[in-house]
Symmetry: C2
Amino acid sequence: MLTDLVSNFFCKPPKVNFLMSSTTKTLELLSHFSVARPEIGLTQFCRLALRDKATTYRHLQSLETAGFIEQNPMTKAYRLGPALLQLAETREATVPRKSAALPPLHALADATGETSHVAVISGTTVYGLVSCESPQHGIRAIMDLDTFPLHATASGLCALAFGPAQLLDVACENLHGFTAATPPDRATLVDLIASIRQSGFGQADRTYEDEVKGVSAPIFDQTGNLAGTVAVACVASRFTPELERAIKRNLITASRAISRNWGGTIPASIEAAWANSTTLHMNELDTAS
Amino acid sequence: MLTDLVSNFFCKPPKVNFLMSSTTKTLELLSHFSVARPEIGLTQFCRLALRDKATTYRHLQSLETAGFIEQNPMTKAYRLGPALLQLAETREATVPRKSAALPPLHALADATGETSHVAVISGTTVYGLVSCESPQHGIRAIMDLDTFPLHATASGLCALAFGPAQLLDVACENLHGFTAATPPDRATLVDLIASIRQSGFGQADRTYEDEVKGVSAPIFDQTGNLAGTVAVACVASRFTPELERAIKRNLITASRAISRNWGGTIPASIEAAWANSTTLHMNELDTAS
DNA sequence: AACAACGGTTCAATATATGAACCGACGATA
DNA sequence: TATCGTCGGTTCATATATTGAACCGTTGTT
């Protein structure tokens, strides 16, 4: 039949494989699953992954033998598999991040009345760990991300400012513009990072979504390195100086608490930056009023 | 240096790769993590996986870029990564197995006073989903398995009896003997399966661990196929006929409830087998007494 | 200072992944 | 009921990505 020619045409890759191992390509398939797209058929996978059918099929088989996906016997479509539950359980049992972050996060969301979340830095990626929506407002900033763009979110910028230096290069390789305010180039990013280092808070002013402002603080673990971030995402129209002060005050509390639960402490330099920037902030207000 | 020759010697594979994709080999590395072994170094991985250092290193890198593992910055050892948490969350959000199984499972453990667990069948593997230890007894059967051997556990045998036919071949490919009572060959297994089909209950009498007897029942989902098993693992010395009756009665309840929660129902043939075998059981008792 | 163990890297050899074409089944359409 | 499009899955020659022996630099031990 000729029809496969057509369907293959739409699946063909842009003929450039950026030094990717076949395993990496295979594991990338998993990222196409989400709550909104829980089952994916073979052909649909081809389109999503921009690979041909035979390759995609074999990749899916590998994932299936590992228990990472399974086939719905009715629809023949693939969905996430049960092996993930066990691995996740082992991870959380041995490196309890989520459970240790939840209580301070809830307190933060309650105190600020805004959507709050915690992310973990692993390698050069910022993964969303858990988010907590305060029921206080009808309109809330919704952050349903799997990974946070380094250059466009408060958490990402916080990682750039306080994480390993190589992150900046990674960020600059993908400066996707989400809004008009997204940092467009390395220079802008470097300036932003400098001011974040000074204040001790990550800030993202409508850089990822219009009408959403984010403020974040770093989290450290027993290694002494940056291990994650805690952030508040706030509908921009509600973002008053008073709210900002409250958010920062509570972020400090949350960051200290989660860091302690993760086995780390806040470095003196950041404590100093916080002390400095929050009093500075007050001075600004005093001058303004 | 000559030392790598030595370390490589101990890592060398038995020179037979059973038609495994590199991805499958890579994902197999993850199975070496457990609560007891949460962090694994490169060299240790080589020994566990029986592969050489370069290959293992590349595999680990693939897993790391996918966020499935991360390196402890202090020890350089690898541990499970944060991406697993998200995938597991998506899986459970879209295919809620665990949360839907928990309430009936707790009821089962409470009613029987024995360790109970639920497993899911995916492909040709029986994955442990959740287990529940009744606090009633000091001595409990502990089932801390990731996957259940098909031929040697009540859950596995239940899968063989009520799952897809191909499972039997898979089971016969690995008839590892755990105890003196482990079914040693296909013929024994076939007999066992036949009696399980008749009674509607999987049974494993010290086939996996000495002093542990297991009884299981099948779980079905909306596809009408076997989707999992619910089982009670019991210290053999406590296993009286009365306890067996109680276990079976409560297994039926649990199996019906979990199947309903998973979107399925118990096939009439199995309901009939249950009715038949439980009354038969009583008759036996009557005759005996 | 010598040694061993570790994490990580190199390069030739080749085992393994790849994709165009193909197949059979299904469902919609007309 | 004949036609078409789409789907999941399979084949095989080709070529590319994986492999492992040997190597390197560092660290900690004796």
